[in-house]
């Protein structure tokens, strides 16, 4: 009787399909948990989505669109152009250096409220010195691979 009951829990894993065995179980658990979350929170879900939409559209809340989307756009451009430039200067780290100088300066400028002449000088110096120092220490002294 006991062995009959235990045989219900028998499992055979086909080696050719073994890569899907555990992911299928995890996916099902994930789907069930997601369903529970949606069922238990559906009343808050729609108003929450509407609120998020209004915040992202700038009609509500304290969301700094310029700085948030500016950070995303600059970071994406930084990564993309670094990849493009690394084909021009392969294995030198120059792509990292050039793009980092531009990125650090532009992102700092994005985050500053009221740029004064003194602040401009600080931002330019920071954008020139910090990436150059990082490039020199990491790529030249430590021989770490840079784009």
């Amino acid at each position: 009787m006991e062995s009959q009951w235990l045989s219900l829990l028998d499992v055979t894993i086909d080696f050719d399909q073994s890569h899907l065995f555990f992911p299928r179980i995890v996916t099902w658990i994930l789907v069930v948990l997601l369903a529970i979350i949606l069922i238990t929170r559906y009343r808050r879900l729609v108003p929450g989505l509407k609120h998020a939409g209004r915040v992202l559209a700038g009609r509500e809340g304290d969301f700094d669109h310029r700085r948030f989307f500016g950070t995303l756009a600059l970071t994406t451009a930084y990564f993309y152009l670094m990849g493009v430039l690394s084909d021009v200067f392969p294995n030198t780290g120059y792509s990292f250096l050039i793009m980092s100088v531009l990125f650090v300066f532009l992102l700092s400028l994005l985050y500053v409220d009221r740029p004064t002449r003194r602040l401009w000088v600080i931002l330019v110096l920071n954008a020139l010195i910090a990436p150059t120092l990082a490039w020199y220490v990491l790529a030249q002294l430590f021989r770490i691979t840079l784009p």
Partner: protein, 500 residues
């Protein structure tokens, strides 16, 4: 003694440098020890095993300790674990005792750190010796227990469980590794992704994205407003610090350090839980707690000794079981792997020299943290004035280095950093829990191997319940952790109902 040959001036200089950088990161609100380790990872690529460990452990200890500076001076915890330091530190600073409050915190921190290093030294080998006997079944159950404990202690248990499972799911993207006994077939991705994701997402770019870029995006969204509304308080006036303030505090120190160490051993619970627990215990058990919350040194002692005791505690499951105790040790596990260290039950026995070096590095980091912070606290306090428009672009730049260099120059790892930076921001917005997610991500692949191999060997699901008395004990612990979490929730709801 071969170990003595590794104790070079460079070894100690790197511990000091790591500790100092960690303190600076910890002292800047919003930046944590985890971020310090993530951002400084590229520096360790150039070093050997011993020096890499020295830098990493220095960063870890320094990062946790530095959090007290803004907690005392501007009432904002530099790291989540310093939350209770604000309760008494800030009132002391307001009445002109800022330097005294910080020095009390520094002494308590070094006590907690050394206490937990001692526990690590004596307890981790015992746990590792015990864990060596584990088969795949028990190893899988240990991972299940870790994820259950983490999820059950989240603010929302359901979201905690979901986040942990999502982390496991993300870790399974890629091929089922042949070296782990798999069939080398890809899964959970479209064909066009196979070129990039054949080995799945690399661990460290994922972690750097979630802990580095996400933090920048969250602050960018707020527009970098000054949250304090006032400048930092001056340290120069008020009562002087004397060691006599610790008279009668030994019980508090030992109790809080024990709590911190124990909480650190529990996977993923986090420093804020340790300090809150230690603070509330001091409030409950001390002879006179009437001044706590109004600027009592005992509050700072309990908070800071407990959060620094986390450091050694969190390394116990990492080094003996291969399970990270908190988010910082989650990054350490990746950094150690890069250095060729496979943490787990066999680590200590097979790498005795490395193990002793780690203990020495941890002790030295605590002592150096004390030296740096105690004598240079006035200069360190100025760190909180460094503007984020200078820091954050540099942090993203260093994140790029860390992600790109991890696999010796793969641009997709940099995109992974961006993907998971944005994912971390979205996760924060929809209430996903980051810590279970990353612990699930780290342990997911191992869980798969242990689960599938157990079933391939025994051919029946019941083996997970019947394999050994240890397996039964682990199921009991899983049930207890779930029951305890449910009990805490029911109790807090009842309390809320009574109060309303």
């Amino acid at each position: 003694m071969d170990i003595l040959s590794h104790l070079t001036p460079m070894f100690f200089a790197l511990i000091a440098a790591g500790t100092a950088i960690g303190i600076i990161f910890g002292a800047i609100p919003g930046m944590t020890a985890t971020m310090a380790v993530a951002v400084c990872l590229p520096l360790t690529y150039a070093f050997g095993l011993e020096n890499g460990i020295a830098l990493l452990l220095g960063l870890y200890v320094g990062g946790i300790s530095g959090g007290m500076v803004p907690a005392v001076l501007i009432n904002i915890p530099g790291t989540p674990s310093s939350i209770t330091t604000t309760f008494d530190g800030y009132p002391m600073a307001k009445r002109g005792e800022g330097e005294r409050a910080l020095k009390i915190g520094i002494v308590a921190s070094v006590f907690g750190g050394l206490f937990s290093a001692a526990v690590l030294f004596f307890f981790a080998p015992l746990l590792a010796d015990f864990a060596i006997k584990f088969s795949y079944v028990e190893k899988f159950l240990i991972i299940l227990l870790a994820l259950t404990v983490i999820a059950s202690l989240c603010s929302n248990m359901l979201m905690g469980v979901f986040s942990g499972v999502l982390g496991v799911w993300l870790s399974l993207i890629g091929t089922y590794s042949i070296t782990e006994g798999g069939n080398g077939e890809p899964r959970l991705m479209f064909d066009f992704m196979q070129y990039y994701l054949i080995d799945g997402f690399s661990l460290l770019p994922v972690l750097i994205g979630i802990f580095g870029l996400t933090t920048v995006l969250l602050d960018a969204e707020k527009g970098f407003r000054d949250e304090t509304g006032q400048g930092p308080i001056s340290l120069k006036n008020g009562a002087k610090f004397r060691f006599g303030v610790f008279k009668g505090q030994l019980t508090n120190l030992i109790r809080s350090s024990s709590i911190g160490t124990f909480v650190g051993i529990l996977p993923g619970v986090g420093g804020s839980a340790a300090s809150v627990l230690a603070y509330s215990q001091e409030k409950n058990f001390s002879r006179d707690s009437s001044q706590m919350g109004k600027g009592a040194p005992q509050g700072i002692v309990s908070s800071e000794s407990s959060n620094n005791a986390l450091t050694g505690g969190a390394l116990v499951p990492l080094l003996s079981l291969g399970i990270p105790g908190d988010s910082t040790t989650a990054i350490l596990i990746g950094a150690f792997t890069l250095q060729g260290i496979q943490v787990g039950p066999l680590f200590i026995g097979n790498n005795l020299d490395t193990w002793y070096l780690m203990i020495i590095a941890l002790l030295a980091a605590n002592v150096l943290m004390f030296g740096i912070m105690y004598f240079a606290i006035r200069h360190i306090a100025r760190v909180i004035e460094v503007p984020k428009y200078i820091l954050y672009p540099l942090i993203i730049m260093m994140c790029v280095v860390g992600a790109y260099a991890i696999n010796y120059g793969i641009m997709f790892d940099v995109w992974t950093l961006l993907i998971f930076g944005v994912f971390g921001w979205v996760a924060h917005k929809i209430g996903l829990e980051t810590v279970p997610l990353i612990i699930g991500f780290i342990l997911g692949k191992s869980a798969e191997v242990y689960f599938v191999k157990s079933l391939e060997s025994y051919g029946n699901y019941s083996i997970f319940f019947t394999k050994s008395p240890i397996a039964v004990c682990l199921w009991v612990l899983i049930a207890v952790s779930l029951a305890f979490a449910i009990y805490l929730r029911v109790r807090s709801r009842r309390q809320a109902a009574v109060e309303s």
